[in-house]
């Protein structure tokens, strides 16, 4: 009996293969990185190559769910569109009912619950995407959450999803510390450095979004990204110079 064609059937060793296959679909999407600081949360994504005649405004990996909550995803584009739409409606519905904006945890839980529902229903397949959800609550605390196709969600200080996420996560584990957490500029730099582990250098290959308390999501301009990349390049050269001198 094949255990991988029906979503509602466990295999004898406890696998839900369709959910695991959905997690594989996430790895086909380009890399997205999130870094949380005290007063800032940064989202960085690998920019997708756009066809010559295509309008690149319709090709977006980072989007806002509400004024204070944003999201980046990796995986199936169409599934992301549907999930984002449902999340946006939920944000407004909550605000109308409760007269308060959603907390980041609430909307993450909503998205995760939706993803989980699609792992148990008959005739439906799981959403083939993972999401990084960032924002600030009304008490001013910053948050970064990650969801996956199984419907689990966790809070992170820094994380990556999509292609080569493991390499990027290793880099973040080695380089994230309290100094990064306390500095806005250091958070942005770490995010770009993490992306440069798996993306070619150049502002045209990445998109960086910065969320700050009581401010709308801000997309960094290409010139600003180029300046930071040039700094990183210099630091890397200086480090390489040090290493070669040590060898001598």
């Amino acid at each position: 009996m094949s255990y991988d064609t029906a979503i509602t059937v466990f295999s004898p060793d406890g696998h839900l293969f369709q959910v695991e296959y959905a997690q594989e679909a996430v790895k086909k999407g380009s890399t997205a990185v999130g870094v949380r600081g005290k007063d800032i949360v940064v989202l960085g994504v690998e920019k997708k190559a756009v066809a010559m005649l295509q309008d690149d405004r319709t090709v977006r990996k980072i989007c806002s769910l509400d004024d204070h909550v944003s999201m980046a995803f990796a995986g199936l584009t169409a599934d992301a569109r549907v999930l984002i739409q449902k999340a946006r409606v939920e944000c407004q519905s909550y605000k109308l009912t409760v007269e308060d904006p959603v907390t980041v945890e609430y909307i993450t839980r909503y998205i995760a619950n939706l993803q989980q529902k699609y792992t148990q229903g008959r005739g439906r397949r799981p959403f083939g995407l993972s999401a990084l959800i960032v924002g600030f609550d009304y008490d001013g605390t910053s948050h970064l959450y990650q969801t996956d196709p199984s419907g689990t969600y966790h809070e992170w200080k820094a994380n990556a999803i999509g292609r080569s996420a493991n390499s990027v996560r290793e880099f973040l584990e080695k380089n994230y510390n309290d100094d990064i957490f306390n500095s806005d500029a250091a958070c942005v730099k770490l995010c770009i450095r993490a992306l440069l582990e798996v993306v070619q250098s150049g502002a045209k290959n990445v998109e960086i979004a910065v969320a700050r308390r009581n401010r709308p999501l801000e997309m960094l301009k290409a010139e600003e990204i180029e300046v930071i990349m040039a700094e990183i390049e210099k630091e890397n050269e200086a480090e390489a110079e040090k290493k070669s001198q040590k060898k001598i």
Binding site: S30, A49, V50, T77, R163, V199
Partner: protein, 273 residues
């Protein structure tokens, strides 16, 4: 019943008559079969010390990043390509100055002279050959080129790896005619019941028949497309096993090239983002 009173049996074009199948033939479409097109005419067989065969996108990306990218045009000579008839015609007419990355997809065959005092024939097979093409392809190669040993690089999906132990992916395994090669942490011998398939298997069979030395590396990867981690892991495994004898280089140029190779997957398809 027909107009003339004869009894006529019903028939359907959807169901073919068994008798007809015996005589019906499907003409093989020779234009779709891949073969080697040699760009140089030589009367004598070309002699090289080693054949390096890269089967599949990950193996081709590995060769591009850690070997071919480090060689100038004069150090590597383009000998031929594996292509269908139409692909070869397109290749003949197109601009040859395109990027190295696009050239990787063209299943090119290079000769490298004097690398670490040896000569090599490098065959990139980016687009997998069909099962009816393996042996013809190898025969065409052997007709033109004499080689003393063979290094085969290939990849398979992690789902085709069977083991009672837990395994982290990507990982690299090897098979070798050299019984003295010992297993290393980064590269272990391929154990039963796992096996190689397709062109790598056909090449190994050929080497055994001709009593040639061979070493095959297979990277079990999470992705069938080019994946930076799998390419890096292939390098770790190969350089670990071959140690000082490895001709593959890992330097700044390789790191830059690795990132550009990752773009191969980042196609314009809208399905994934």
């Amino acid at each position: 019943m027909s107009l003339f009173g004869e009894l006529q049996f019903g028939f359907s074009r959807a169901v073919s008559d068994d008798e007809d199948d015996e005589y019906s033939r499907i003409e093989p479409n020779l234009n779709l079969k891949r073969k080697i097109y040699w760009l140089e005419e030589t009367t004598e067989k070309i002699e090289v010390d080693e054949l390096i065969l890269a089967d599949g996108p990950i193996a081709c990306a590995f060769l591009h990043v850690y070997l071919l990218n480090h060689l100038s045009e004069s150090e590597k000579r383009l000998l031929g390509l594996s292509a269908t008839n139409s692909e070869f015609k397109i290749f003949q007419n197109e601009d040859k100055s395109e990027s190295e990355l696009n050239r990787m997809r063209k299943n090119l065959i290079y000769k490298i002279n004097n690398l670490d005092a040896k000569s090599f024939l490098v065959c990139e097979v980016f687009t997998n050959l069909k099962s009816n093409e393996f042996y013809d392809w190898i025969d065409q190669l052997w007709e033109k080129v004499n080689f003393k040993s063979c290094t085969i690089l290939c990849s398979q999906n992690q789902t085709s790896y069977f083991s009672s132990h837990q395994q982290q992916f990507p990982c690299v395994k090897f098979l070798s005619s050299n019984k003295n090669l010992t297993t290393e942490d980064k590269c272990q011998r391929l154990e039963e019941p796992n096996f190689l398939q397709n062109l790598p298997a056909a090449m190994i069979q050929f080497c055994v028949l001709k009593q040639l030395d061979f070493t095959a590396f297979v990277c079990y990867s999470q992705s069938i497309n080019v994946d930076i981690q799998s390419v890096k892991e292939t390098y770790s495994g190969v350089s670990c096993l071959l140690k000082d004898k490895s001709i593959f280089k890992n330097d700044d140029l390789s790191k830059k090239s690795l990132l550009s190779v990752g773009n191969l997957v980042n196609s314009v398809s809208g399905l994934y983002m």
